[in-house]
Symmetry: C2
Subunit: 193 residues, 2 copies
DNA sequence: CGGGACCTTCCTACTAGTAGGTAGACAACA
DNA sequence: TGTTGTCTACCTACTAGTAGGAAGGTCCCG
């Protein structure tokens, strides 16, 4: 039997999938209410304002991502495998169309008109991801697995941009396979061998 | 004396800057009307429906881009210079914050909820840009300027993703310089020398 | 030349519907 | 008993879009 998700979790789940599809202005309280079968006012009970809902949502996403990335570092043997598992995660998300875009990448594109409380949290996720990639690349260099043209932090920014750009191209051209076609050579190029 | 822009051009100009800032759902007819000092209804005279306005806007953008890229191919001596001028264009847009994002990249992120007439045109722009990059890379290889790891069309997709991802990172982290920090090494890596 | 007929552009005033958000009642439950 | 969660009912502001008309220009016909 499936675990019973709380109403506020259900609200956040639906809101996240709606943001992934259409961004901050692409969904409404009415959309969420219809999707989970409650009234608009009940959502306001859990999240008084939209900006607050999205801020909590991004906080939750950032925590989940941090935990997921940390567990990759613990379970995967080598930095090369860690990187591979990271992009495999997004490959499966995009190919089965479950969450075919990073919610923070989506929100980042709208950064200029986001409420401050949301924008700050989106920025934090970008910093966290860049830091994780940097540390994986650095570890890989130390173990002689990677040979980088640039500093690890610079290479991490390049890699992060490739991943987000690949998501965008896959979506724009309606070709899920394009994600790996772009990202796979990019990480292959880091390998020393 | 400056050329007098027609009202419909002014509408498209404002709409484009509003889309760059906040996407398809991030602006309204009222926003445009306020910005250029006319009434909402007058905008409906020029563009009866919002989807049509944006479709015309993307058509115009695609034509301008095609013309601009074509003139780069004619005025720049080598494929390497053509590529450099292309990214220099975006560098200046991002650094002086005039149009710090590609309107089609913005719309592509919202692809899933865009009206069909808009989505199709956004896809066309992505195809055009990929084709231009492919032909520049191919010409560069023929002239011995580039050495590519992959086929020119694959390498073009990788480069396009880097450019869009770099725009996103620059926006997310509020660091205009990040765009060139990501893109410059990416094109340097293509060079044979 | 005069004068319709027409067209373009913009206006005021309006519609139906949706946005985020609020007030207060009711039920379950610790 | 107070707390939590949900509801109905409502609000104001805003959404895209429409109706109808005023002002002005253009073109053609007499």
């Amino acid at each position: 039997m499936k675990s019973m998700a709380s109403t506020s979790d259900k609200i956040l789940d639906i809101a996240q999938s709606l943001i992934v599809a259409g961004g901050y202005n692409g969904f409404s309280y009415a959309d969420i209410a219809d999707a989970i079968g409650i009234r608009k006012a009940s959502i306001h009970h859990h999240f008084p304002a939209k900006a607050e809902l999205v801020a909590v949502l991004v906080d939750r996403y950032t925590k989940q991502a941090a935990a997921g990335l940390q567990s990759l570092r613990e379970q995967a043997a080598s930095p090369a495998d860690q990187l591979q598992l990271y992009i495999d995660y997004w490959r499966s998300c995009i190919e089965n169309a479950s969450q075919p875009f990073c919610v923070c990448a989506m929100l980042a594109s709208e950064m200029q008109m986001l409420p401050d409380e949301v924008a700050l949290r989106v920025r934090t996720h970008f910093r966290n991801l860049a830091a994780w990639l940097t540390s994986v690349l650095r570890a890989g260099v130390e173990q002689g697995l990677f040979r980088l043209d640039k500093r690890p932090d610079e290479q991490a920014q390049m890699l992060m941009a490739s991943v987000h750009g690949a998501m965008l191209s896959a979506r724009a051209l309606g070709d899920p396979g394009l994600f790996m076609a772009i990202v796979a050579p990019e990480i292959a190029r880091l390998r020393d061998t």
